[in-house]
């Protein structure tokens, strides 16, 4: 939308005979229709809309005169499922309009080659690169880190101790953006700032769960320059350019250097002036992370990305879309798809499996052949079996699968739940399901009381209680980048670099060095110690919460098999702690835990497979793939399915498919996703390989300083696979208690 404005102005001022239009999910049907028949000179659109346009029978005529494709913010797209969709769309455009040229725009990336490949059609075995133009960098940013020499919290992500610093920074700025990592943090920070906002500065809140009108209002006020600060999440990372912003404040962990650069870039859009940023670490590890990130940004170093290969689920959607446009030759489509860089190494067997999946479900038991969605024409091409399928395709198209959401409706106190209610926004269904009537939580800057869940949404009232129980309804989505983790590990391993850190953090590391050990670069430290009547094992891979969670699941499984009776584990961005009823120390005389064996890479084989089978995260990954591939429909014309029904049935489908056809193409697509997605298995694999034979163990008589933050964090993960049973058992105990009560 900003781009449209930036194009419209010069076009109008110069009175150019150029039409500029946008096409997004919000564009009216009439306008879309018109665009198909008389396209504007410049169309601003999304990968999703491009594939919808290509799936139309008129796509050939519409695109035959296409001259240029410009891909903005390509770095944010190329390595994602949206990127896969876009790459497939570009491959199609190449066939329809071979004369067109492409230009990609990107923020600085560590390795531009994948983007250069993305831009141009790939020959057999890949390798073609576009030209590369590197713009001269602007002035170096000024990055401060807020740190107190008197107090740095051990754990937590809210940085309450630093709110006065944040407020002071807002005072000195014309307009500030205050970035936080999660929505609950945004809510909390917004509240904290207002409690000390004695000058009544106009400070607003902006995040993805708020109702759209509310977000638009904030954006409009920001554009007018009437706000002094906006507390926001990554919803404002990209694409919104407000000239007035002259300070960016980042609360919490930066997670990655590129991400920090992106955020800092929101301030001051003039290349010749430095952008100003304040980093506010919320705990000791975040102090290390902020320092590492600042050093990296100033040195001009960035995180690399692990390249994913093109998703088979996205390919399935594209094949159906192609059929919607008209009959196609499978052989020709395969050649076309292979020119897209994410699919350059696609095998003919995988392609055929996906075509078969689209046509009949692709099952070994060929019982659906008579209902096929694709049928052979006389000349051997494939055509859509029924026009209704095109309609279904359009409703299900796209690769963004949102968590099922529930509307939050505010009603007046005293009314029964379900009566009336203004829409405040939306929350993830799984969060709402955990609430009981009477629970309070912060949303939209207010403390709300949960009154009940009805078909039309979750009903809430304003609470008088200023202290809400604040749940984290969405953990940080982005794990600590591999590159930044590496820099943090290095910083920890070099005591001579500690002097830049605040006093309490230096002291913390020094006591760690004295009481336990500071691991050298490349080593993995594993500490064991008793506490209470439990035995702990804590390790510090610094590989991000997702990889640690997967590691935790796998370690507890192994410990369970070794009869060490693990009771639970907690994972954060930096460490993993496992506790058990028995001592988890290693001992050379046998009997103890063999650490080298415990951390052996072979855990990624059978252990991983058997754990995955029951993992909720894996089932969610399957559901996303099933929706994208079109096995499960997002919605049917006329009958809207609620998110919950979709979730439930996808679990049933998953169970049956895994038992009866474990090699099915959709299960392969799920596994492919899990490597880089929710489970970060690939990263875990790299870590296990790296630390092989380099595990340093310390048996301590009590908790070490480095272990404290991990133990202070509350975790929701229990021993592998058994958590659900434990929840049932716990609830049942209440029954027995009730039965035994005498009153």
């Amino acid at each position: 939308m900003d781009v449209a404005r930036n194009l419209d102005h010069p076009v109008e001022e110069m009175n150019l005979p150029v039409t500029v239009e946008t096409r997004t999910g919000d564009t009216s049907a009439a306008r879309r229709q018109r665009q198909r028949y008389s396209p504007p000179d410049i169309l601003l659109t999304t990968p999703e809309q491009l594939s919808l346009l290509l799936a139309h029978p008129r796509s050939t005529q519409m695109f035959e005169n296409l001259r240029t494709v410009v891909l903005d913010e390509l770095h944010a797209l190329y390595n994602s499922k949206r990127g896969d969709l876009l790459a497939l769309g570009l491959a199609r455009l190449q066939t329809l309009a071979p004369q067109h040229r492409r230009v990609g725009l990107s923020a600085t990336v560590k390795d531009p080659e994948p983007l250069q490949r993305f831009l141009v059609p790939q020959p057999m075995r890949g390798g073609a690169l576009s030209q590369l133009v590197i713009a001269k960098g602007g002035a170096k940013p000024q990055i401060e880190i807020s740190a107190s020499d008197s107090y740095v919290p051990w754990a937590g992500h809210l940085a309450r101790h630093a709110m006065a610093d944040v407020m002071a920074a807002i005072h000195t700025a014309r307009t500030a953006l205050v970035f936080v990592n999660t929505r609950s943090q945004a809510e909390r920070t917004f509240q904290e700032l207002w409690t000390i906002n004695d000058a009544n500065l106009p400070i607003a809140l902006h995040h993805g769960s708020l109702a759209q009108e509310q977000r638009r209002k904030v954006e409009a006020a920001m554009a007018k320059g009437s706000l002094r600060a906006v507390v926001c999440t990554s919803t404002l990372d990209l694409g919104i350019d407000w000239g007035a912003v002259d300070k960016v404040i980042c609360i919490g962990a930066p997670k990655g250097a590129a991400r920090l650069v992106q955020r800092i870039g929101r301030a001051n859009h003039r290349l010749d002036e430095p952008s100003a940023a304040l980093l506010v670490p919320a705990n000791r590890f975040e102090v290390l992370e902020c320092n590492a990130a600042r050093d990296a940004v100033l040195a001009g170093e960035l995180d690399g990305e692990r390249l994913k290969t093109g998703g088979l689920d996205v390919l399935a959607q594209h094949i159906l879309g192609t059929a919607c446009a008209g009959p196609f030759s499978a052989a020709a489509l395969f050649e076309e798809v292979r020119t897209a860089s994410p699919y350059a190494h696609l095998t003919p067997a995988d392609f055929d499996a996906v075509v078969d999946f689209v046509a009949t479900g692709g099952y070994a038991l060929r019982s659906y052949d008579r209902y096929a969605r694709l049928r052979k024409t006389e000349d051997g091409r494939l055509r859509l079996a029924h026009p209704r399928l095109a309609q279904e395709y359009r409703l299900n198209a796209g690769v963004i699968v949102e968590d099922p959401m529930v509307e939050i409706r505010l009603q007046s106190r005293g009314k029964p739940a379900g009566a009336g209610g203004r829409k405040l926004g939306e929350l993830e269904e799984y969060f709402v399901e955990q609430l009981s009537v009477g629970d309070t939580f912060v949303f939209s800057g207010e403390v709300l009381r949960f009154e009940g869940l009805r078909e039309t949404g979750a009903f809430v009232t304003r609470s008088r209680d200023p202290q809400a129980e604040i749940p984290s309804y969405n953990g940080g989505k982005f794990p600590l980048s591999t590159f930044l983790a590496q820099r943090v590990r290095e910083m920890v391993s070099r005591p001579e670099s500690w002097h830049v850190l605040p006093e309490p953090v230096q002291e913390w590391l020094k006591i760690q060095e004295w009481r336990s050990v500071i691991p050298k670069p490349g080593q993995l430290l594993v500490e064991t110690f008793p506490r209470g009547n439990r035995h702990y094992l804590v390790c510090y891979p610094f590989e991000g919460r997702l990889a640690h969670q997967t590691l935790g699941m796998l370690l507890t499984r192994r410990l369970e098999r070794g009869r060490f009776h693990p009771l639970g584990f907690i994972a954060n961005e930096y460490a993993l702690a496992v506790w058990a009823a028995r001592d988890l120390s290693s001992s050379k005389d046998g009997g103890g835990v063999d650490m080298d064996a415990l951390f052996d890479e072979d855990m990624l084989g059978d252990d991983l497979d058997s754990w995955l089978a029951d993992s909720n995260l894996y089932k969610r990954t399957f559901r996303n793939c099933a929706i994208i591939a079109g096995l499960i429909q997002r919605r049917f014309p006329g009958k809207e399915k609620t998110g919950r029904q979709v979730t439930f049935s996808s679990d049933l489908i998953y169970d049956v498919l895994r038992q009866h056809e474990p090699d099915h193409v959709l299960l392969r697509a799920t596994y492919q996703d899990a490597g880089t997605g929710l489970l970060d298995i690939a990263r875990l694999g790299d870590m296990l390989a790296r630390v092989k034979k380099r595990i340093v163990t310390r048996r301590l008589d009590r908790v070490s300083p480095l272990a404290v933050p991990a133990l202070l964090e509350i975790s929701r993960e229990m021993v592998a696979g058994e958590a659900d049973e434990a929840i049932l058992r716990e609830n049942e105990d209440a029954l027995i208690r009730d039965a035994m009560r005498v009153d």
Partner: protein, 231 residues
């Protein structure tokens, strides 16, 4: 209300004075009548979607039959009662693959089957072995597909696919369940692709005048959860 666990993970309850064993697979067994009870098998639900060109894995009937076979082998009943909606639609019987049909026929030889009719299968396939009935009485129990709005002690029914949820530690666990107040019993659906209805839904909650229990299906055993705790 009394309930007793026995070592196998089954739960023993009484319904209108009759003892019933609730199996974690979702079937109920009456030792006194040597009768095993399944509800809502929904054979060929998957293939019914295929006609609308949604291709769910075509293994749901096989999966359901294999689980039935395990339960039959375990309890070795002389009689099996299927509480209706055994076939997802009118043609479901004809869509069974040859191997699936053989599997079904072999089960029918292992025990005497009673097929209670349901709203999905008012006319089960004619080739089906066993008797077809709307209701069956055994001692203090009466078996039918859909529970009557009017209260009848000893009613054992299906149709509603009850599910219950419990929350703890910030997590929510939703499972199929039996629902009973000691006078009436609703069985969970047994078919592989059958979804569920929360026991808080009026269709289920209004069947019980007083407190009742959700007997939730765990991986290896049944958990008795008071209605107050479950949602």
């Amino acid at each position: 209300m009394r309930c007793v666990w026995i070592e196998t993970g089954d739960l023993l309850i009484t319904v209108n004075g009759e003892t019933l064993l609730l199996d974690a697979c979702g079937a109920a067994f009456s030792p006194a009548h040597s009768t095993l009870i399944f509800a809502d098998l929904h054979f060929e639900k998957g293939s019914s979607y295929a006609r609308g060109r949604q291709f769910l894995p075509p293994y749901d009937t096989t999966n359901t039959l294999l689980r039935m076979a395990r339960a039959i082998a375990r309890h070795n009943p002389s009689r099996v009662i299927a509480l209706g909606d055994s076939f997802h639609d009118r043609d479901a019987g004809e869509r069974l693959g040859p191997q699936t049909r053989q599997l079904l026929e072999s089960l029918c030889r292992a025990a005497h089957f009673t097929w209670i009719t349901g709203n999905h299968d008012p006319h089960p396939p004619i080739w089906l072995e066993g008797e077809v009935a709307e209701t069956v009485r055994l001692g203090g129990l009466i078996f039918r597909h859909e529970p009557l709005a009017a209260f009848e002690p000893g009613e054992v029914a299906g149709h509603l696919h009850p599910c219950a949820s419990v929350a703890k530690w910030g997590r929510n666990v939703r499972r199929r369940c039996f629902a009973s107040d000691g006078l009436r019993l609703i069985l969970p659906s047994f078919g592989a692709y059958t979804g569920g209805l929360d026991i808080g839904d009026p269709a289920i909650a209004t069947l019980f005048a007083g407190p009742f229990h959700a007997y939730m299906l765990g991986n290896r055993r049944v958990y008795a959860i008071p209605r107050r705790v479950a949602v």
